[in-house]
Protein backbone atom coordinates (compact mmCIF):
# COMPACT_ATOMS: atom_id res chain seq x y z
CA UNK A 1 0.00 0.00 0.00
CA UNK A 2 1.63 3.18 -1.08
CA UNK A 3 -0.54 5.98 0.19
CA UNK A 4 -3.57 5.53 2.32
CA UNK A 5 -6.61 5.72 0.11
CA UNK A 6 -4.67 4.87 -3.03
CA UNK A 7 -6.74 1.77 -3.59
CA UNK A 8 -9.93 3.73 -3.27
CA UNK A 9 -8.71 6.26 -5.84
CA UNK A 10 -7.87 3.45 -8.23
CA UNK A 11 -11.38 2.13 -7.80
CA UNK A 12 -12.84 5.56 -8.33
CA UNK A 13 -10.96 5.78 -11.61
CA UNK A 14 -12.82 2.69 -12.77
CA UNK A 15 -16.19 4.07 -11.84
CA UNK A 16 -15.35 7.36 -13.52
CA UNK A 17 -14.27 5.56 -16.67
CA UNK A 18 -17.52 3.61 -16.70
CA UNK A 19 -19.57 6.70 -16.01
CA UNK A 20 -18.01 8.72 -18.81
CA UNK A 21 -18.01 5.69 -21.07
CA UNK A 22 -21.73 5.26 -20.64
CA UNK A 23 -22.24 8.49 -22.58
CA UNK A 24 -19.99 7.57 -25.49
CA UNK A 25 -19.59 3.83 -25.84
CA UNK A 26 -22.44 2.37 -27.84
CA UNK A 27 -21.96 -1.02 -26.24
CA UNK A 28 -22.37 0.34 -22.75
CA UNK A 29 -25.31 2.38 -23.85
CA UNK A 30 -27.40 -0.67 -24.65
CA UNK A 31 -26.45 -3.02 -21.84
CA UNK A 32 -30.03 -3.23 -20.76
CA UNK A 33 -31.19 -4.31 -24.20
CA UNK A 34 -32.09 -7.91 -23.63
CA UNK A 35 -31.51 -9.34 -27.05
CA UNK A 36 -28.61 -7.18 -28.04
CA UNK A 37 -26.98 -10.03 -29.96
CA UNK A 38 -29.80 -10.06 -32.47
CA UNK A 39 -29.64 -8.08 -35.70
CA UNK A 40 -31.25 -4.72 -35.21
CA UNK A 41 -33.71 -5.28 -38.04
CA UNK A 42 -35.39 -8.03 -36.05
CA UNK A 43 -36.05 -5.84 -33.04
CA UNK A 44 -39.15 -3.69 -32.85
CA UNK A 45 -37.85 -0.31 -33.92
CA UNK A 46 -40.05 1.86 -31.79
CA UNK A 47 -42.96 1.51 -29.47
CA UNK A 48 -45.19 2.80 -32.27
CA UNK A 49 -44.42 -0.30 -34.33
CA UNK A 50 -46.28 -2.47 -31.95
CA UNK A 51 -48.92 -3.70 -32.06
CA UNK A 52 -49.48 -3.22 -35.78
CA UNK A 53 -52.96 -4.68 -35.61
CA UNK A 54 -55.31 -4.97 -32.72
CA UNK A 55 -54.63 -8.10 -30.73
CA UNK A 56 -51.23 -8.69 -32.31
CA UNK A 57 -48.61 -9.96 -29.95
CA UNK A 58 -44.93 -9.23 -29.99
CA UNK A 59 -44.16 -12.90 -29.43
CA UNK A 60 -46.02 -13.81 -32.65
CA UNK A 61 -44.11 -11.42 -34.83
CA UNK A 62 -40.58 -11.93 -33.59
CA UNK A 63 -38.89 -15.22 -33.10
CA UNK A 64 -37.42 -14.45 -29.74
CA UNK A 65 -34.70 -17.02 -29.79
CA UNK A 66 -34.22 -20.27 -31.55
CA UNK A 67 -34.61 -22.50 -28.49
CA UNK A 68 -36.74 -20.16 -26.41
CA UNK A 69 -39.48 -21.95 -24.61
CA UNK A 70 -42.38 -20.78 -22.59
CA UNK A 71 -45.34 -23.12 -22.42
CA UNK A 72 -46.23 -26.16 -24.50
CA UNK A 73 -48.63 -26.18 -27.43
CA UNK A 74 -50.25 -29.03 -29.35
CA UNK A 75 -49.42 -29.42 -33.01
CA UNK A 76 -51.75 -30.17 -35.88
CA UNK A 77 -50.91 -30.58 -39.55
CA UNK A 78 -52.39 -28.51 -42.36
CA UNK A 79 -56.16 -28.66 -42.22
CA UNK A 80 -58.88 -28.40 -39.61
CA UNK A 81 -57.17 -28.49 -36.20
CA UNK A 82 -59.22 -31.33 -34.75
CA UNK A 83 -59.07 -33.38 -37.98
CA UNK A 84 -55.30 -33.30 -38.15
CA UNK A 85 -54.32 -33.29 -34.49
CA UNK A 86 -51.21 -35.37 -33.89
CA UNK A 87 -51.84 -36.19 -30.26
CA UNK A 88 -53.31 -39.65 -29.72
CA UNK A 89 -53.95 -39.18 -25.99
CA UNK A 90 -51.41 -41.80 -24.98
CA UNK A 91 -50.96 -39.86 -21.73
CA UNK A 92 -47.20 -40.38 -21.54
CA UNK A 93 -46.63 -36.65 -21.12
CA UNK A 94 -49.26 -36.49 -18.38
CA UNK A 95 -47.40 -39.19 -16.49
CA UNK A 96 -43.93 -37.72 -16.98
CA UNK A 97 -44.65 -34.03 -16.40
CA UNK A 98 -42.66 -33.24 -13.24
CA UNK A 99 -45.12 -30.83 -11.57
CA UNK A 100 -48.13 -32.78 -12.92
CA UNK A 101 -49.83 -29.90 -14.67
CA UNK A 102 -51.27 -31.75 -17.68
CA UNK A 103 -54.75 -33.20 -17.57
CA UNK A 104 -55.90 -35.48 -20.39
CA UNK A 105 -59.16 -37.27 -21.03
CA UNK A 106 -58.98 -39.86 -23.77
CA UNK A 107 -61.77 -40.00 -26.32
CA UNK A 108 -64.04 -43.04 -26.21
CA UNK A 109 -64.17 -43.61 -29.96
CA UNK A 110 -61.53 -43.38 -32.65
CA UNK A 111 -61.40 -40.76 -35.36
CA UNK A 112 -59.36 -40.53 -38.56
CA UNK A 113 -56.14 -38.59 -38.20
CA UNK A 114 -54.17 -36.72 -40.87
CA UNK A 115 -52.92 -40.00 -42.39
CA UNK A 116 -56.46 -41.38 -42.54
CA UNK A 117 -55.79 -43.90 -39.79
CA UNK A 118 -58.40 -44.23 -37.04
CA UNK A 119 -56.87 -43.03 -33.77
CA UNK A 120 -57.91 -41.93 -30.34
CA UNK A 121 -57.73 -38.23 -29.65
CA UNK A 122 -57.78 -36.14 -26.47
CA UNK A 123 -61.34 -35.25 -25.54
CA UNK A 124 -59.80 -32.93 -22.96
CA UNK A 125 -56.25 -31.65 -22.84
CA UNK A 126 -55.62 -28.94 -20.27
CA UNK A 127 -52.34 -27.43 -19.18
CA UNK A 128 -52.28 -25.32 -16.07
CA UNK A 129 -49.66 -22.78 -17.06
CA UNK A 130 -49.56 -21.35 -13.57
CA UNK A 131 -47.95 -24.63 -12.53
CA UNK A 132 -46.00 -25.51 -15.69
CA UNK A 133 -42.31 -24.82 -15.29
CA UNK A 134 -41.41 -24.78 -18.99
CA UNK A 135 -39.10 -27.72 -18.62
CA UNK A 136 -39.80 -29.33 -21.97
CA UNK A 137 -39.93 -32.88 -20.57
CA UNK A 138 -43.35 -33.41 -22.18
CA UNK A 139 -41.88 -32.51 -25.56
CA UNK A 140 -39.04 -34.96 -25.16
CA UNK A 141 -41.11 -37.94 -24.10
CA UNK A 142 -43.92 -37.56 -26.63
CA UNK A 143 -43.47 -40.36 -29.19
CA UNK A 144 -45.76 -38.69 -31.73
CA UNK A 145 -44.15 -35.23 -32.01
CA UNK A 146 -47.51 -33.87 -30.97
CA UNK A 147 -46.46 -31.36 -28.33
CA UNK A 148 -43.78 -28.66 -28.69
CA UNK A 149 -42.84 -25.48 -26.90
CA UNK A 150 -44.44 -22.19 -27.76
CA UNK A 151 -42.59 -18.92 -27.29
CA UNK A 152 -45.65 -16.81 -26.57
CA UNK A 153 -44.92 -14.68 -23.53
CA UNK A 154 -47.73 -12.16 -23.33
CA UNK A 155 -50.12 -14.21 -21.26
CA UNK A 156 -51.25 -11.90 -18.51
CA UNK A 157 -54.90 -12.26 -17.68
CA UNK A 158 -57.24 -10.83 -15.08
CA UNK A 159 -58.63 -14.32 -14.40
CA UNK A 160 -56.22 -16.05 -12.10
CA UNK A 161 -57.62 -19.56 -12.34
CA UNK A 162 -59.58 -20.02 -15.55
CA UNK A 163 -57.38 -17.70 -17.54
CA UNK A 164 -54.24 -19.66 -16.78
CA UNK A 165 -55.79 -23.05 -17.47
CA UNK A 166 -55.22 -23.43 -21.19
CA UNK A 167 -57.69 -25.73 -22.92
CA UNK A 168 -57.12 -28.05 -25.84
CA UNK A 169 -58.52 -25.77 -28.50
CA UNK A 170 -56.31 -22.89 -27.40
CA UNK A 171 -53.29 -25.15 -27.21
CA UNK A 172 -53.71 -26.33 -30.79
CA UNK A 173 -51.37 -24.57 -33.18
CA UNK A 174 -50.51 -25.43 -36.77
CA UNK A 175 -47.20 -26.84 -37.87
CA UNK A 176 -46.75 -23.68 -39.96
CA UNK A 177 -46.86 -21.58 -36.84
CA UNK A 178 -44.24 -23.86 -35.32
CA UNK A 179 -42.07 -23.32 -38.38
CA UNK A 180 -42.47 -19.60 -37.93
CA UNK A 181 -41.36 -19.48 -34.30
CA UNK A 182 -38.69 -22.20 -34.28
CA UNK A 183 -37.61 -22.58 -37.93
CA UNK A 184 -34.52 -24.68 -37.37
CA UNK A 185 -36.00 -27.03 -34.81
CA UNK A 186 -39.19 -27.49 -36.81
CA UNK A 187 -37.23 -28.32 -39.96
CA UNK A 188 -35.14 -31.00 -38.22
CA UNK A 189 -38.24 -32.42 -36.56
CA UNK A 190 -40.07 -32.65 -39.89
CA UNK A 191 -37.04 -34.26 -41.48
CA UNK A 192 -36.79 -36.83 -38.74
CA UNK A 193 -40.49 -37.59 -38.91
CA UNK A 194 -40.34 -38.03 -42.67
CA UNK A 195 -37.34 -40.34 -42.31
CA UNK A 196 -39.12 -42.36 -39.62
CA UNK A 197 -42.19 -42.64 -41.80
CA UNK A 198 -40.14 -43.70 -44.80
CA UNK A 199 -38.28 -46.26 -42.73
CA UNK A 200 -41.55 -47.63 -41.41
CA UNK A 201 -43.02 -47.87 -44.89
CA UNK A 202 -39.87 -49.48 -46.24
CA UNK A 203 -40.04 -52.00 -43.43
CA UNK A 204 -43.68 -52.67 -44.17
CA UNK A 205 -42.95 -53.01 -47.87
CA UNK A 206 -40.01 -55.31 -47.18
CA UNK A 207 -42.17 -57.42 -44.91
CA UNK A 208 -44.88 -57.55 -47.56
CA UNK A 209 -42.37 -58.49 -50.23
CA UNK A 210 -40.88 -61.13 -48.03
CA UNK A 211 -44.31 -62.58 -47.42
CA UNK A 212 -45.02 -62.47 -51.16
CA UNK A 213 -41.69 -64.10 -51.97
CA UNK A 214 -42.30 -66.76 -49.37
CA UNK A 215 -45.74 -67.41 -50.83
CA UNK A 216 -44.27 -67.62 -54.34
CA UNK A 217 -41.54 -69.98 -53.19
CA UNK A 218 -44.15 -72.13 -51.55
CA UNK A 219 -46.23 -72.18 -54.68
CA UNK A 220 -43.15 -72.97 -56.76
CA UNK A 221 -42.19 -75.76 -54.40
CA UNK A 222 -45.69 -77.15 -54.56
CA UNK A 223 -45.59 -76.98 -58.36
CA UNK A 224 -42.20 -78.66 -58.44
CA UNK A 225 -43.50 -81.36 -56.19
CA UNK A 226 -46.49 -81.78 -58.47
CA UNK A 227 -44.23 -81.98 -61.50
CA UNK A 228 -41.96 -84.54 -59.94
CA UNK A 229 -45.07 -86.47 -59.01
CA UNK A 230 -46.19 -86.34 -62.61
CA UNK A 231 -42.73 -87.49 -63.73
CA UNK A 232 -42.82 -90.55 -61.59
CA UNK A 233 -46.25 -91.46 -62.81
Amino acid sequence: MSILGGGIFKGMAVTLRNFVGSYFSKERFITTNEYSWRPESELPQSIGDYPKEEGEQLSDTTTVNHYSRNFPMLLHDTGEPMDTIRCVACQICERECPPQCIYIEKSTEKKENADGKPQFYPAKFDIDVSVCMSCQICVEVCPFDAIVMNSQFELSTPDRFGGLLVRRDDLLKSNDYYHKIHPQEAATRDERMAADKAAKEAKKKAAAEKAKAAAEAKAAAAEAANESKEDTE
Binding site: I8, K10, E34
Partner: protein, 382 residues
Protein backbone atom coordinates in the same frame (compact mmCIF):
# COMPACT_ATOMS: atom_id res chain seq x y z
CA UNK B 1 -19.33 7.63 16.05
CA UNK B 2 -19.78 4.53 18.13
CA UNK B 3 -18.32 4.28 21.55
CA UNK B 4 -16.48 1.14 22.59
CA UNK B 5 -18.87 -1.52 23.86
CA UNK B 6 -18.83 -1.68 27.65
CA UNK B 7 -17.54 -4.95 28.94
CA UNK B 8 -20.46 -7.08 30.06
CA UNK B 9 -18.74 -8.78 32.98
CA UNK B 10 -17.12 -5.59 34.16
CA UNK B 11 -20.43 -3.81 34.28
CA UNK B 12 -21.96 -6.62 36.25
CA UNK B 13 -19.14 -6.49 38.75
CA UNK B 14 -19.90 -2.83 39.21
CA UNK B 15 -23.42 -3.82 40.14
CA UNK B 16 -24.98 -2.50 36.96
CA UNK B 17 -27.81 -4.49 35.48
CA UNK B 18 -26.86 -5.60 32.00
CA UNK B 19 -27.97 -8.47 29.90
CA UNK B 20 -27.19 -10.12 26.63
CA UNK B 21 -29.20 -8.87 23.70
CA UNK B 22 -30.80 -11.57 21.62
CA UNK B 23 -31.79 -10.56 18.14
CA UNK B 24 -33.11 -12.40 15.16
CA UNK B 25 -31.50 -11.34 11.89
CA UNK B 26 -33.72 -12.20 9.02
CA UNK B 27 -35.50 -14.03 7.50
CA UNK B 28 -35.54 -11.18 5.04
CA UNK B 29 -32.53 -9.25 6.14
CA UNK B 30 -30.90 -7.89 3.00
CA UNK B 31 -27.60 -9.54 3.81
CA UNK B 32 -28.98 -13.01 4.30
CA UNK B 33 -29.04 -14.21 0.67
CA UNK B 34 -32.53 -15.59 0.84
CA UNK B 35 -34.93 -16.68 3.51
CA UNK B 36 -32.41 -17.44 6.20
CA UNK B 37 -32.34 -16.34 9.81
CA UNK B 38 -29.63 -16.05 12.42
CA UNK B 39 -30.45 -16.04 16.12
CA UNK B 40 -27.63 -13.95 17.52
CA UNK B 41 -26.82 -13.22 21.15
CA UNK B 42 -24.86 -10.03 21.57
CA UNK B 43 -22.75 -8.63 24.29
CA UNK B 44 -22.66 -5.05 23.21
CA UNK B 45 -21.58 -5.51 19.61
CA UNK B 46 -19.77 -8.79 20.12
CA UNK B 47 -21.37 -12.02 18.99
CA UNK B 48 -21.37 -14.51 21.86
CA UNK B 49 -23.77 -17.04 20.39
CA UNK B 50 -25.09 -17.63 16.91
CA UNK B 51 -27.59 -20.14 15.65
CA UNK B 52 -28.46 -20.36 11.96
CA UNK B 53 -32.12 -21.17 11.30
CA UNK B 54 -33.16 -22.37 7.89
CA UNK B 55 -35.67 -24.60 6.18
CA UNK B 56 -38.04 -21.90 4.99
CA UNK B 57 -37.47 -22.92 1.40
CA UNK B 58 -37.85 -26.66 1.82
CA UNK B 59 -39.48 -28.18 -1.23
CA UNK B 60 -39.10 -31.87 -0.58
CA UNK B 61 -36.74 -32.23 -3.50
CA UNK B 62 -35.39 -35.66 -2.59
CA UNK B 63 -38.72 -37.36 -1.96
CA UNK B 64 -40.20 -35.78 -5.06
CA UNK B 65 -37.39 -37.23 -7.12
CA UNK B 66 -37.95 -40.67 -5.63
CA UNK B 67 -41.48 -40.59 -6.96
CA UNK B 68 -40.76 -39.80 -10.56
CA UNK B 69 -38.64 -41.21 -13.34
CA UNK B 70 -34.96 -40.38 -13.59
CA UNK B 71 -35.42 -37.91 -16.42
CA UNK B 72 -38.30 -36.07 -14.78
CA UNK B 73 -36.28 -34.90 -11.83
CA UNK B 74 -33.64 -33.30 -14.04
CA UNK B 75 -35.54 -29.98 -14.23
CA UNK B 76 -35.88 -29.99 -10.45
CA UNK B 77 -32.11 -30.08 -10.01
CA UNK B 78 -32.00 -26.66 -11.75
CA UNK B 79 -33.81 -25.27 -8.77
CA UNK B 80 -31.32 -26.41 -6.16
CA UNK B 81 -28.69 -23.77 -6.60
CA UNK B 82 -30.51 -21.56 -9.03
CA UNK B 83 -27.40 -19.62 -9.97
CA UNK B 84 -25.69 -22.73 -11.28
CA UNK B 85 -28.28 -24.88 -12.96
CA UNK B 86 -25.78 -26.24 -15.48
CA UNK B 87 -23.44 -27.71 -12.88
CA UNK B 88 -26.36 -29.14 -10.90
CA UNK B 89 -27.52 -30.90 -14.04
CA UNK B 90 -24.06 -32.26 -14.62
CA UNK B 91 -23.68 -33.77 -11.15
CA UNK B 92 -27.03 -35.52 -11.46
CA UNK B 93 -26.30 -36.72 -14.98
CA UNK B 94 -22.94 -38.11 -13.80
CA UNK B 95 -24.62 -40.14 -11.06
CA UNK B 96 -27.30 -41.54 -13.36
CA UNK B 97 -24.77 -42.28 -16.09
CA UNK B 98 -22.94 -44.54 -13.67
CA UNK B 99 -26.13 -46.54 -13.26
CA UNK B 100 -26.84 -47.04 -16.95
CA UNK B 101 -23.31 -47.05 -18.33
CA UNK B 102 -23.59 -44.89 -21.38
CA UNK B 103 -20.83 -43.36 -23.45
CA UNK B 104 -20.92 -39.57 -23.66
CA UNK B 105 -19.89 -38.27 -27.10
CA UNK B 106 -16.77 -36.15 -27.39
CA UNK B 107 -18.51 -32.94 -28.42
CA UNK B 108 -20.95 -33.21 -25.54
CA UNK B 109 -18.08 -33.60 -23.08
CA UNK B 110 -16.47 -30.43 -24.38
CA UNK B 111 -19.73 -28.51 -24.25
CA UNK B 112 -20.29 -29.73 -20.70
CA UNK B 113 -16.94 -28.32 -19.65
CA UNK B 114 -17.69 -25.04 -21.42
CA UNK B 115 -21.08 -24.74 -19.74
CA UNK B 116 -19.68 -25.63 -16.32
CA UNK B 117 -16.88 -23.09 -16.54
CA UNK B 118 -19.23 -20.37 -17.78
CA UNK B 119 -21.40 -21.21 -14.80
CA UNK B 120 -18.41 -20.85 -12.51
CA UNK B 121 -17.81 -17.39 -13.95
CA UNK B 122 -21.44 -16.46 -13.39
CA UNK B 123 -21.37 -17.71 -9.83
CA UNK B 124 -18.10 -16.14 -8.78
CA UNK B 125 -18.71 -12.82 -10.44
CA UNK B 126 -22.10 -12.44 -8.73
CA UNK B 127 -20.78 -13.77 -5.45
CA UNK B 128 -18.10 -11.09 -5.38
CA UNK B 129 -20.74 -8.50 -6.23
CA UNK B 130 -23.02 -9.62 -3.41
CA UNK B 131 -20.11 -9.91 -1.03
CA UNK B 132 -19.07 -6.29 -1.41
CA UNK B 133 -22.74 -5.41 -1.35
CA UNK B 134 -22.82 -6.88 2.16
CA UNK B 135 -19.84 -4.70 3.00
CA UNK B 136 -21.87 -1.67 2.14
CA UNK B 137 -20.66 -1.04 -1.40
CA UNK B 138 -24.25 -0.91 -2.56
CA UNK B 139 -24.88 -1.21 -6.21
CA UNK B 140 -21.88 -0.31 -8.29
CA UNK B 141 -19.70 -3.44 -8.09
CA UNK B 142 -22.77 -5.66 -8.10
CA UNK B 143 -24.12 -3.98 -11.21
CA UNK B 144 -20.80 -4.39 -13.00
CA UNK B 145 -21.00 -8.07 -12.07
CA UNK B 146 -24.54 -8.34 -13.31
CA UNK B 147 -23.58 -6.71 -16.59
CA UNK B 148 -21.11 -9.53 -17.29
CA UNK B 149 -23.41 -12.19 -15.91
CA UNK B 150 -26.15 -11.05 -18.25
CA UNK B 151 -23.92 -11.67 -21.27
CA UNK B 152 -23.26 -15.22 -20.13
CA UNK B 153 -26.91 -15.83 -19.37
CA UNK B 154 -27.70 -14.67 -22.90
CA UNK B 155 -25.41 -17.44 -24.13
CA UNK B 156 -27.18 -19.96 -21.92
CA UNK B 157 -30.50 -18.82 -23.26
CA UNK B 158 -29.41 -19.23 -26.83
CA UNK B 159 -28.18 -22.74 -26.16
CA UNK B 160 -30.84 -24.08 -23.85
CA UNK B 161 -33.84 -21.78 -24.17
CA UNK B 162 -33.73 -20.49 -20.61
CA UNK B 163 -31.51 -18.09 -18.75
CA UNK B 164 -31.43 -19.75 -15.39
CA UNK B 165 -33.48 -22.94 -15.37
CA UNK B 166 -31.48 -24.39 -18.21
CA UNK B 167 -32.37 -28.09 -17.90
CA UNK B 168 -29.78 -28.67 -20.59
CA UNK B 169 -27.90 -31.83 -19.63
CA UNK B 170 -29.23 -35.27 -20.42
CA UNK B 171 -28.02 -38.71 -19.45
CA UNK B 172 -25.43 -39.51 -22.08
CA UNK B 173 -24.96 -36.00 -23.39
CA UNK B 174 -26.91 -32.79 -23.85
CA UNK B 175 -30.42 -32.05 -24.98
CA UNK B 176 -29.51 -30.27 -28.19
CA UNK B 177 -26.51 -28.94 -29.98
CA UNK B 178 -25.67 -25.27 -29.60
CA UNK B 179 -27.06 -23.04 -32.36
CA UNK B 180 -24.95 -21.80 -35.22
CA UNK B 181 -22.49 -19.08 -34.28
CA UNK B 182 -22.80 -19.79 -30.58
CA UNK B 183 -19.22 -20.94 -30.23
CA UNK B 184 -17.96 -17.77 -31.90
CA UNK B 185 -20.01 -15.59 -29.60
CA UNK B 186 -18.64 -17.52 -26.63
CA UNK B 187 -15.07 -17.13 -27.87
CA UNK B 188 -15.63 -13.40 -28.15
CA UNK B 189 -16.98 -13.24 -24.62
CA UNK B 190 -14.13 -15.32 -23.23
CA UNK B 191 -11.57 -13.14 -24.99
CA UNK B 192 -13.04 -10.04 -23.45
CA UNK B 193 -13.56 -11.45 -19.98
CA UNK B 194 -9.99 -10.92 -18.68
CA UNK B 195 -10.36 -7.19 -19.41
CA UNK B 196 -13.38 -7.14 -17.16
CA UNK B 197 -11.50 -9.06 -14.48
CA UNK B 198 -8.70 -6.49 -14.62
CA UNK B 199 -11.21 -3.74 -14.17
CA UNK B 200 -12.90 -5.55 -11.34
CA UNK B 201 -9.62 -6.20 -9.58
CA UNK B 202 -8.66 -2.57 -9.93
CA UNK B 203 -12.00 -1.59 -8.50
CA UNK B 204 -11.93 -3.89 -5.48
CA UNK B 205 -8.75 -5.70 -4.62
CA UNK B 206 -6.74 -2.81 -3.21
CA UNK B 207 -9.60 -0.87 -1.77
CA UNK B 208 -8.60 0.00 1.79
CA UNK B 209 -12.12 -0.31 3.11
CA UNK B 210 -12.42 -3.83 1.79
CA UNK B 211 -9.00 -4.74 3.13
CA UNK B 212 -9.66 -3.46 6.62
CA UNK B 213 -13.07 -5.03 6.85
CA UNK B 214 -12.20 -8.46 5.48
CA UNK B 215 -8.64 -9.19 6.56
CA UNK B 216 -8.51 -11.14 9.78
CA UNK B 217 -12.29 -11.47 9.87
CA UNK B 218 -13.96 -14.87 10.00
CA UNK B 219 -10.84 -16.97 10.23
CA UNK B 220 -11.24 -20.62 9.41
CA UNK B 221 -8.38 -22.92 10.30
CA UNK B 222 -7.28 -25.70 8.01
CA UNK B 223 -8.09 -28.36 10.62
CA UNK B 224 -11.62 -27.16 11.20
CA UNK B 225 -12.24 -26.81 7.48
CA UNK B 226 -11.19 -30.38 6.81
CA UNK B 227 -13.00 -31.80 9.83
CA UNK B 228 -16.22 -30.02 9.00
CA UNK B 229 -16.18 -31.34 5.43
CA UNK B 230 -15.87 -27.92 3.85
CA UNK B 231 -15.26 -28.05 0.11
CA UNK B 232 -14.75 -25.74 -2.80
CA UNK B 233 -13.19 -22.28 -2.77
CA UNK B 234 -13.74 -22.02 0.97
CA UNK B 235 -11.55 -25.06 1.65
CA UNK B 236 -8.85 -23.80 -0.69
CA UNK B 237 -8.92 -20.40 1.01
CA UNK B 238 -8.05 -22.25 4.22
CA UNK B 239 -4.99 -23.68 2.57
CA UNK B 240 -5.99 -27.14 1.37
CA UNK B 241 -5.14 -28.03 -2.19
CA UNK B 242 -8.21 -30.02 -3.10
CA UNK B 243 -10.18 -29.63 -6.29
CA UNK B 244 -12.31 -32.43 -7.68
CA UNK B 245 -11.50 -31.35 -11.21
CA UNK B 246 -7.94 -32.48 -10.46
CA UNK B 247 -8.65 -35.24 -7.94
CA UNK B 248 -11.46 -36.97 -9.80
CA UNK B 249 -10.80 -35.57 -13.28
CA UNK B 250 -14.44 -36.28 -14.12
CA UNK B 251 -15.59 -35.59 -17.66
CA UNK B 252 -12.52 -34.61 -19.63
CA UNK B 253 -10.89 -32.26 -17.14
CA UNK B 254 -7.62 -34.18 -17.33
CA UNK B 255 -7.08 -32.76 -20.82
CA UNK B 256 -6.89 -29.15 -19.75
CA UNK B 257 -4.03 -27.25 -18.24
CA UNK B 258 -5.08 -25.10 -15.33
CA UNK B 259 -3.92 -24.23 -11.86
CA UNK B 260 -5.80 -24.56 -8.60
CA UNK B 261 -5.37 -21.42 -6.51
CA UNK B 262 -5.07 -21.98 -2.76
CA UNK B 263 -3.61 -20.06 0.14
CA UNK B 264 -0.92 -20.98 2.64
CA UNK B 265 -3.65 -21.42 5.24
CA UNK B 266 -2.32 -18.85 7.69
CA UNK B 267 -5.58 -17.04 8.09
CA UNK B 268 -8.40 -18.39 5.95
CA UNK B 269 -10.25 -15.13 6.37
CA UNK B 270 -12.89 -13.42 4.29
CA UNK B 271 -10.30 -11.69 2.13
CA UNK B 272 -8.74 -15.04 1.22
CA UNK B 273 -12.10 -16.43 0.24
CA UNK B 274 -12.78 -13.36 -1.86
CA UNK B 275 -9.40 -13.48 -3.62
CA UNK B 276 -9.58 -17.24 -4.30
CA UNK B 277 -12.70 -16.62 -6.32
CA UNK B 278 -11.10 -13.80 -8.27
CA UNK B 279 -8.17 -16.08 -9.10
CA UNK B 280 -10.40 -19.02 -9.97
CA UNK B 281 -12.15 -16.96 -12.58
CA UNK B 282 -8.85 -16.52 -14.41
CA UNK B 283 -8.34 -20.27 -14.44
CA UNK B 284 -11.87 -20.80 -15.71
CA UNK B 285 -11.09 -18.47 -18.56
CA UNK B 286 -7.97 -20.53 -19.32
CA UNK B 287 -10.00 -23.77 -19.39
CA UNK B 288 -12.64 -22.14 -21.58
CA UNK B 289 -10.03 -21.00 -24.08
CA UNK B 290 -8.60 -24.51 -24.41
CA UNK B 291 -12.01 -26.14 -24.64
CA UNK B 292 -13.24 -23.68 -27.25
CA UNK B 293 -10.12 -24.24 -29.32
CA UNK B 294 -10.33 -28.04 -29.33
CA UNK B 295 -14.05 -28.71 -29.50
CA UNK B 296 -14.77 -31.29 -32.21
CA UNK B 297 -17.84 -31.76 -34.38
CA UNK B 298 -20.06 -34.74 -33.83
CA UNK B 299 -22.94 -36.24 -31.94
CA UNK B 300 -24.39 -34.57 -28.92
CA UNK B 301 -26.02 -37.45 -27.09
CA UNK B 302 -25.41 -41.17 -26.71
CA UNK B 303 -28.09 -43.82 -27.14
CA UNK B 304 -30.33 -43.67 -24.08
CA UNK B 305 -34.05 -44.23 -23.93
CA UNK B 306 -36.13 -41.59 -22.19
CA UNK B 307 -37.48 -43.93 -19.54
CA UNK B 308 -35.08 -46.64 -18.41
CA UNK B 309 -34.82 -49.26 -15.72
CA UNK B 310 -31.28 -49.50 -14.34
CA UNK B 311 -30.21 -52.73 -12.66
CA UNK B 312 -30.26 -52.60 -8.84
CA UNK B 313 -27.10 -50.72 -7.90
CA UNK B 314 -25.92 -47.59 -6.22
CA UNK B 315 -24.00 -44.68 -7.66
CA UNK B 316 -22.47 -41.47 -6.43
CA UNK B 317 -21.71 -38.73 -8.92
CA UNK B 318 -19.82 -35.68 -7.76
CA UNK B 319 -18.41 -32.59 -9.36
CA UNK B 320 -16.53 -29.53 -8.28
CA UNK B 321 -19.39 -27.08 -8.34
CA UNK B 322 -18.68 -23.38 -8.02
CA UNK B 323 -19.66 -23.62 -4.35
CA UNK B 324 -17.96 -26.91 -3.53
CA UNK B 325 -18.46 -30.62 -3.93
CA UNK B 326 -21.93 -31.22 -5.27
CA UNK B 327 -22.86 -34.89 -5.12
CA UNK B 328 -25.85 -36.99 -6.04
CA UNK B 329 -26.30 -40.40 -4.49
CA UNK B 330 -28.72 -42.75 -6.19
CA UNK B 331 -29.92 -46.24 -5.35
CA UNK B 332 -31.68 -48.01 -8.18
CA UNK B 333 -34.03 -50.87 -7.43
CA UNK B 334 -34.75 -52.04 -10.96
CA UNK B 335 -37.77 -49.81 -11.54
CA UNK B 336 -38.01 -46.59 -13.49
CA UNK B 337 -37.70 -44.54 -10.31
CA UNK B 338 -34.76 -44.24 -7.92
CA UNK B 339 -35.25 -46.01 -4.59
CA UNK B 340 -33.17 -43.38 -2.84
CA UNK B 341 -32.08 -40.03 -4.12
CA UNK B 342 -29.83 -37.89 -2.01
CA UNK B 343 -28.11 -34.59 -2.66
CA UNK B 344 -24.91 -33.53 -0.99
CA UNK B 345 -25.35 -29.77 -1.01
CA UNK B 346 -22.11 -27.79 -0.65
CA UNK B 347 -23.97 -24.70 0.57
CA UNK B 348 -25.46 -26.50 3.56
CA UNK B 349 -22.24 -28.17 4.60
CA UNK B 350 -20.17 -25.01 4.20
CA UNK B 351 -22.72 -23.23 6.36
CA UNK B 352 -22.01 -25.47 9.33
CA UNK B 353 -18.89 -23.50 10.30
CA UNK B 354 -20.71 -20.17 10.32
CA UNK B 355 -21.01 -20.20 14.12
CA UNK B 356 -17.32 -20.97 14.62
CA UNK B 357 -16.29 -18.15 12.34
CA UNK B 358 -18.62 -15.56 13.83
CA UNK B 359 -18.15 -16.10 17.58
CA UNK B 360 -16.18 -13.35 19.19
CA UNK B 361 -16.52 -11.10 16.17
CA UNK B 362 -18.64 -8.04 15.68
CA UNK B 363 -22.23 -8.30 14.60
CA UNK B 364 -21.51 -6.33 11.42
CA UNK B 365 -18.89 -8.90 10.49
CA UNK B 366 -21.39 -11.72 10.70
CA UNK B 367 -23.00 -10.41 7.49
CA UNK B 368 -19.69 -10.39 5.66
CA UNK B 369 -18.76 -13.85 6.87
CA UNK B 370 -22.09 -15.20 5.71
CA UNK B 371 -21.55 -13.48 2.37
CA UNK B 372 -18.11 -15.00 2.00
CA UNK B 373 -19.41 -18.56 2.51
CA UNK B 374 -21.49 -18.29 -0.64
CA UNK B 375 -24.76 -20.03 0.10
CA UNK B 376 -27.91 -20.27 -1.92
CA UNK B 377 -30.95 -21.15 0.09
CA UNK B 378 -32.48 -23.21 -2.68
CA UNK B 379 -29.67 -25.66 -2.12
CA UNK B 380 -29.44 -25.38 1.68
CA UNK B 381 -33.10 -26.21 2.20
CA UNK B 382 -33.80 -28.30 -0.90
Amino acid sequence: MTTAAPNYELLQQEGLETSLLEISMGPHHPSTHGVFRMDVKLDGETVVELRPVFGYLHRNHEKLAENMTYLSSMPFTDRLDYFNSMTNNWAYALAAEKLIEVEVPERAEYLRVIMAELTRLVNHVTLVGFFVNDLGALGTPLMYAFREREKILDLFEQASGARMMCNYFRFGGLRNDVPEGWLDRTRELVDRFPAFLDEYEQLLCENEIILSRTQGVGNLSRELAVNAGITGPMLRASGVNYDLRKVDAYGIYDRFKFRVPYTDGDTGDCYDRFMIRMLEMRESVAILKQALADIPEGDIIGKVSKVFKPKPAEAYGRIEGPKGELGFYLIADGTTKPYRYRVRPPSLINLTVLRDMCLGGKIADACIILGSIDIVLGEVDR
